[in-house]
Symmetry: C2
Subunit: 194 residues, 2 copies
């Protein structure tokens, strides 16, 4: 049991480093950039509160578990903002390969059974094919939109984003997992772009 606990805490102490990974998005009051640890907490809370926006077959507890894990690879790779490099960096093959190496290292700190379970959950999130993963991805896209709205534009201004770019890079993915939610958010966002 001692070896098992050593491995469990090697992972949990390593996870602490996610609190030092900074995102492009700020807090709602624009006081500082958000970090990926607190972002993961906020997203899990989004899942709990917006569960009624999920489609049939979505298990909110699995969504929450995914969201708790989804950014851990950023400990090695950092956050790649959606709108950086004109929207091309986020899903690039290079980023995906680096994230796979990070997953191997970070989940590899865990005892074998946990390593396999949690890594499979992260891979399911990344693949964005199951209902749980599609809904989790929708929440991951909607939260920065709400943070930007709260602070008067945020990363839209930083990256000179147009409404069409927001709709294609972000709106489409929100709508895929939570269509009614995107309808509502879209109406909130549209006036900001004039």
């Amino acid at each position: 049991m001692t070896d098992r606990l050593e491995a469990q805490f090697a992972f949990l102490n390593e996870a602490d480093r996610l609190k030092s990974v900074l995102r492009a998005t700020t807090l709602c009051d624009a006081s500082r950039p958000e970090n990926s640890g607190e972002h993961s907490w906020h997203l899990a809370l989004y899942a709990l509160v917006l569960a009624d926006q999920a489609g049939p077959g979505v298990n909110i507890d699995r969504v929450i578990r995914m969201l708790l894990l989804h950014d851990l690879v950023e400990i090695d790779v950092g956050d790649v903002p959606i709108h950086s490099q004109n929207g091309t960096a986020h899903g690039s093959a290079e980023t995906q390969a680096a994230e796979a190496r990070a997953a191997e290292r970070i989940f590899g700190l865990l005892p074998g059974d946990l390593r396999d379970d949690l890594r499979a959950l992260w891979e399911e999130f990344e693949a964005a094919e199951t209902p749980d993963a599609v809904f989790a991805k929708s929440l991951d896209r909607v939260q920065p939109v709400m943070q930007n709205l709260a602070c008067g534009g945020g990363t839209w201004a930083t990256y000179d984003v147009t409404f069409d770019q927001l709709e294609s890079r972000v709106g489409v993915k929100i709508a895929r997992g939570a269509p009614r939610l995107w309808d509502w958010v879209r109406c909130k966002v549209r006036p900001w772009f004039g």
Copy 2:
């Protein structure tokens, strides 16, 4: 539906403020104080990874939900460190009354059904009587111990804590929900106190 989403997001945007509530404990690298938002994320991850330490009848998904919510009242009340005022402030009647008022206000932002469900979950955590709440409380006590160990003493040095005080204020509560975990952590901690 629009009114409902307005209320859901009033709560989620208010929750963002928990990221600005600072705790006595630092990150593992001692670079800065931890905030209560990222602490809540880390604890939920603790629940996921240390599920095998829970006693019979514990539902880890309910524990995770509790831990996501457990510190929201600190938006109004702030964090009250376990070892402050020689260990007397944390559970005082004054603190408890302030936290109850905060819960009324913060959960009150939600639509009625969600307000009732999430507030009940927070109250269950606070009461620390059900197996889920007892295990959640154990994790809430063990995480700062691990952070202190990682950074060479942390709040034990700040508050001049003795091993006996640590055992009575913290160890007893860890042992209540996760006895094998406290046995292991106790051995790690003992040498620090000489």
